[in-house]
């Protein structure tokens, strides 16, 4: 009873080590959170309290995009969409945030030849996943609205050997959606698992195609969250078991079979 195990989830005062803008509204933030970095797995997230003030009141969830356990740091990649992220983007190095984590169940690292499929900010959690798979050269299929939004190839350049790109307007890579290229990829290559993160519609179609080709597929879902620990039931969604799934603790990563689409 004396030697206490590392507590699974914790809240830590986390100094911002670095923050930089990738585009006018997408930022990369590195924070020091050794307790979380020590045990975080790809697909997990942190729930961040931005201020001690009462407004904005609630924490904000962000995927762990990268994690350096030796340095004790976490990397978050986020887009400014509202009040909290706007506030966050204005914070300078040295400022302290309250990070709660690591939360949720990450990806199951079962495959040998994974295909990662990411759309928009869904590419954030896939980064840590891709790094985990690095040795076995994972393949990434990424999609975005236009070339301007697809700064991701730079980020993934040294992480994934094979990158396929689609954009809605054709300004970068294939014109269309990720799911357009998916059947071709699943047919040709011998992928044994698909990991996907992105907008709900994209996940749905990725799940359909993967199912059609009988390739196991995990998706990372997003929901509005209050507690982040399974207590408030804000984030639940219909599950195939008949029970509702809690995105924050049963997920955010689910096997596609668990999800009612």
């Amino acid at each position: 009873m004396e030697a206490k195990e590392a507590v699974a989830k914790t809240c830590v005062k986390s100094r911002i080590i670095n923050q930089s803008a990738i585009t006018y509204d997408v930022f990369v933030m590195v924070v020091a959170a050794p307790e979380i970095a020590a045990i975080a797995r790809p697909g997990q997230f942190v729930h961040i309290r931005l201020t001690d003030a009462l407004e904005p009141l609630l924490r904000r969830p962000f995927s762990i995009a990268d994690c350096d356990s030796s340095e004790g740091t976490l990397t978050l990649i986020y887009r400014v969409v509202g009040r909290g992220t706007a506030l966050m983007s204005g914070l300078k190095s040295g400022h302290t945030l309250d990070c709660m984590g690591p939360l949720g169940n990450g990806f199951t690292l079962s495959g040998q030849r994974p295909l990662l499929v990411g759309g928009g900010m869904g590419l954030a959690p896939l980064l840590m996943l891709a790094k985990t798979f690095c040795s076995c050269s994972s393949t990434l299929l990424m999609g975005g609205r236009n070339a301007q939004e697809l700064f991701w190839p730079n980020i993934y350049r040294d992480v994934c050997n094979n990158i396929y790109i689609t954009s809605d307007d054709g300004s970068l890579g294939h014109r269309g959606f990720t799911v357009d290229l998916l059947p071709g990829l699943l047919q040709e290559k011998k992928f044994d698992v698909v990991y996907a993160c992105g907008p709900h519609v994209m996940l749905k179609s990725v799940a359909e195609v993967a199912q059609k080709y009988h390739i196991p597929c995990q998706v990372s879902l997003e929901e509005y969250m209050a507690c982040g620990v399974g207590a408030c039931l804000s984030c639940t969604c219909a599950g195939t078991s008949g029970k509702r799934n809690k995105v924050c603790t049963d997920g955010p990563v689910f096997w596609t079979e668990e999800v009612v689409w």
């Binding site: 699974a8 809240c11 009462l54």
Partner: protein, 308 residues
């Protein structure tokens, strides 16, 4: 071992002995276990578990929470696994902790409330909180919570069916909360808790749709504190049974404010989401406040607001 300092905080509400006057509010602390990585549950005054119904409930569809200025809206709609799973699975797990567990119950009819009470009678639960004030379900909630006669009927039925202490949780969405409090007190309530959530709404100006799937939702958090303090003060003056105060408590100072207003114990809700350690931190903060003010017992605060 119970130290002297802990004694300062001990309270007994309707026969339920608590080590601290800081409970967790129903629906905001799950079944307690969800927060056990953060909080030593043995240090919580009492755990009030998620609203429980006879049959399992999936709750409302669509988006279920929204942030508002210094507050939040929720429209969970009483999602819960049903009373049988609570009894067979969850209460046994909670039994390993030395913390009173209070089950928050919700029915569609007077009989359902009675049935719930009967089933929970000898299950390890140390009290019932009768939720007649959930704004998020069509029946079984607000209707009982806004009509003194219906509320009294529910309370009488529950009292008939159980020997457990019965706390009745009041809605703030009424013209006269004192009328409701007196009605449930006369009907046999052993304690009264308030406030449940205010009824609120938010509209997305991009999509022109309500933000919540259920259109309206329950409004909680620091924003509502002035209403909650007022109602606790009004009710505590008017009834003899103990009052459990809640609504926007974030800090020990907030808890003290509720106790001065007349609350014998308090519950923290939304604050758990912001700071998972909050229920224990508030208890410690109250202890510091008592020490600073040369008080020996937390109950020396109760109802001591001086309005002369």
């Amino acid at each position: 071992m119970v130290s002297h300092a802990d004694d300062m905080l001990a309270v007994t509400i309707a026969g339920i002995k608590m080590k601290t006057p800081v409970m967790t509010a129903s629906g905001t602390f799950g079944f307690g276990l969800e927060y056990s990585d953060f909080v030593d549950l043995n240090k919580v005054g009492a755990i009030v578990v998620k609203g429980t119904t006879l049959a399992p409930k999936v709750g409302n569809s669509g988006r279920r929470m929204a942030e508002t200025p210094a507050g939040m809206l929720n429209s969970i709609g009483l999602e819960n696994p049903g009373v049988e799973e609570l009894i067979s699975k969850t209460l046994p797990l909670l039994a390993q902790y030395q913390v009173p567990v209070i089950v928050n119950i919700s029915g569609n009819t007077v009989e359902e409330y009675g049935e719930l009470a009967a089933r929970l009678d000898k299950t390890g639960a140390q009290g019932l909180e009768v939720n007649i004030s959930c704004p998020n379900v069509k029946q079984g909630g607000i209707a009982f919570g806004t009509c003194p006669d219906s509320a009294a009927q529910v309370v009488r039925e529950v009292k008939n069916m159980t020997k457990l202490p019965v706390i009745v949780k009041l809605s703030p969405n009424v013209t006269d909360v004192v009328l409701m409090a007196k009605a449930v007190e006369s009907a046999g309530a052993d304690a009264i808790s308030l406030i449940n959530t205010l009824l609120g709404m938010a509209i997305d100006i991009k999509s022109w749709k309500p933000v919540l799937g259920n259109i309206v939702g329950g409004f909680s958090g620091p924003a509502v504190k002035p209403v909650a303090v007022r109602m606790v003060w009004q009710v505590a003056k008017a009834v003899k049974v103990p009052v459990i105060g809640m609504g926007g408590i974030m800090t020990a100072n907030d808890a003290v404010e509720f106790m001065l207003a007349g609350a014998s114990a308090v519950a923290v809700g939304t604050a758990n989401f912001v700071n998972p350690y909050v229920s224990v931190e508030i208890a410690e903060g109250i202890k510091d406040y008592l020490a600073e003010h040369g008080l020996k017992q937390v109950r020396e605060l109760v109802g001591k607001v001086n309005c002369s």
